[in-house]
Symmetry: C2
Subunit: 386 residues, 2 copies
């Protein structure tokens, strides 16, 4: 097993791209990633995507994107783990390069949610739940998160307004990210007044339905230094899973999959939460941000929200989260998200995060969650000092 | 990189299982595979599946199947490459074990095509084509194969009856396979009279719509010998891709993806077509069987059908194909097929193929194709002599 570096990153602006097809989104990200890496060929391409079959009438994205991106002939598959598909594809790319089965691997996460052919997008997203025991009972994905949020408030004595800091932080950071979907700040007052989506989740607790693609190019760390002016090393890559149905968990307010995934990544990297300089967490809904902070060891059970209320999740806080806007403000093109998170950690570790730069960021973590915690993929990246 | 062995295999009977859900099919195959391997835990589970989102309302199969099979917590993803999804999942499992990222990996290919919720199955299968440039023009998957078959007949001077040997051979072999969907022989006369599906493809040129799951358990070859009485070594594992749309190919009657995939697998194994004792090819339609024989080097362009006509594809022929019934008679539960093929090669190499045993089989090849040749995954397996 050898060390792996990220030698190039690329991303499209996240938004409602009614005039750009899925393959064009993927192409734009792959081309940007290859150009950033300064390479033209690759041994394999793994595509993270959840809903292309349902929403755009296209499975078989591996070969399709490989060909469209000028990489015809290479190994290419789609990797799916619901909203965790992007990081799952990265995990497969990491495995291939670390295990010396491939040298250069392109990973692209892409989702096209507007201009959908098929079912409405809320129904499609419910495919991330347990179809027989959750969706079949009428539980949409937002409904499941609403139940978790309500229970969190009940058990730990919070009120809805206490969740405001996640949205305020994400929008403040997204405002400075040219690739973000929402580039405006929001206030606590606006959060409180936001339209209700699924009680107690309101519009500003929710990430948007949108389109986007992000790509990273992987290479052996040894070669990375020669290929890239600023290679970033992957020092932890790990997956944890849990029951898909929330009602089967030992504790609905504890993300065991995230605990497993983070612990495995920390062990591989030889670090702990105290060493992490920024944490791109999976804030698809604000309740998920709170639960993620707890599962990753930044707060005890029920205290993740406290961390946010105490101002510790900002760029200058103890654990900056959603530093480029997160799922909330950068946007959440589901299969793309896990790769966007990693692209943003790379920006931070390269010192290229502009107004949102976390000072002296050396170690960044990205955590992508499929479903309400059933698949959790964690990557820890490290700046390579010369 | 280390050698990888298959230490256990499992499969369900292929058929129309109206009363068995997708997760139960997967469970049955995984349990059989683990029992055959004599292990209870695994480091990762990769699920090959194409259409669970569209047909059964369930994405996120990795975590779902892992949990249901008693493997909660482990790394688990779904791998998709249209009808090549099963072997694609095996490829990812091979990469993880060969690269020393995992020791024990379970790979399950599963598809549930009856009892579909959503679109009709023909429309769902068209997601394997280029959605914007083939399906959007009204071309179903069978229509594309029909065009290829017609052109093959035209260019090479064959008549439809010349394709009969593929169906006759597959059904003869399927009759002896207790896991096959169709366990009866067919004659040339019956082939000629079969109902037309999409001219010139008739019912007996076509694999059936069905349900099924197959699993293999992988381990390092060193450990394989201790764990299994009859480990089978994977000596070649390779992928080739091509354009998804047939009209973009340099020659519609040449499967460049299969040529790449097979050549890479031969090179890795240090063998050529002359060394292969049996070839589980992707006979989703009989035209694909002919094109596969040519791409894999068993016949020149236009001569794959000749091989069949000369009786060389039977159990005692030069290159036995579909030895347990193939996609035609064992059945083609699309995401399951690639794993079924490998399970059957293992049966042959273990000498457990019963009436269909290929004598002294030492080296077997399985080739799983996504779409009409856009993703081709090839595995070469070798019997390990003590």
């Amino acid at each position: 097993m050898r060390d792996v570096a990220i030698i190039g990153v690329g991303q499209t602006k996240v938004g409602e791209h009614w005039d750009i097809s899925l393959r064009h989104l993927a192409l734009e990200a792959v081309q940007a990633g290859l150009a950033d890496a300064g390479v033209r060929q690759a041994d394999a391409l793994y595509v993270g995507n959840m809903l292309s079959g349902e929403l755009t009438g296209q499975e078989h994205l591996g070969a399709l994107v490989a060909d469209f991106a000028g990489l015809r002939g290479i190994e290419a598959f789609r990797i799916e783990a619901a909203c965790g598909s992007g990081a799952a594809a990265l995990r497969m790319g990491y495995v291939a390069v670390a295990g010396e089965l491939a040298d250069i691997v392109v990973v692209v996460g892409v989702e096209k949610m507007t201009d959908a052919l098929g079912p409405d997008t809320t129904a499609a997203l419910a495919l991330a739940t347990d179809g027989d025991y959750e969706a079949a009972q009428g539980a949409s994905f937002v409904a499941i998160n609403a139940l978790l949020m309500r229970r969190y408030m009940h058990e730990h004595g919070y009120v809805h307004q206490d969740f405001a800091p996640f949205a305020v932080n994400a929008h403040r950071n997204g405002a400075n990210n040219p690739y973000a979907m929402f580039r405006f700040p929001v206030t606590v007052e606006r959060f409180v007044r936001a339209r209700m989506i699924c009680d107690p989740i309101n519009l500003l607790d929710s990430s948007p339905i949108c389109d986007g693609a992000a790509a990273v190019v992987l290479a052996p760390a040894d070669a990375g230094r020669a290929l890239s002016a600023a290679p970033i090393r992957i020092v932890g890559s790990a997956v944890g899973t849990d029951t898909v149905a929330v009602h089967d968990r030992r504790d609905p307010l504890v993300l065991d999959g995230a605990i497993l995934s983070t612990r495995r990544a920390y062990e591989q990297a030889g670090v702990g939460p105290e060493d992490i300089d920024l944490f791109e967490l999976h804030d698809a809904f604000s309740i998920m941000a709170a639960l993620s902070l707890e599962a990753a060891g930044f707060a005890d059970r029920g205290q993740g929200l406290r961390l946010a209320l105490e101002g510790k999740i900002g760029i200058e806080g103890r654990v900056p989260v959603a530093t480029m806007g997160g799922l909330k403000a950068r946007g959440h093109p589901v299969g793309g998200t896990g790769v966007y998170q990693v692209v943003e950690v790379v920006q931070q570790l390269r010192g290229l995060a502009g107004a949102n730069q976390v000072e002296n960021a050396r170690l960044g973590m990205a955590q992508n969650i499929g479903g309400s915690g059933a698949t959790v993929v964690t990557h820890i990246l490290e700046r390579v000092d010369e």
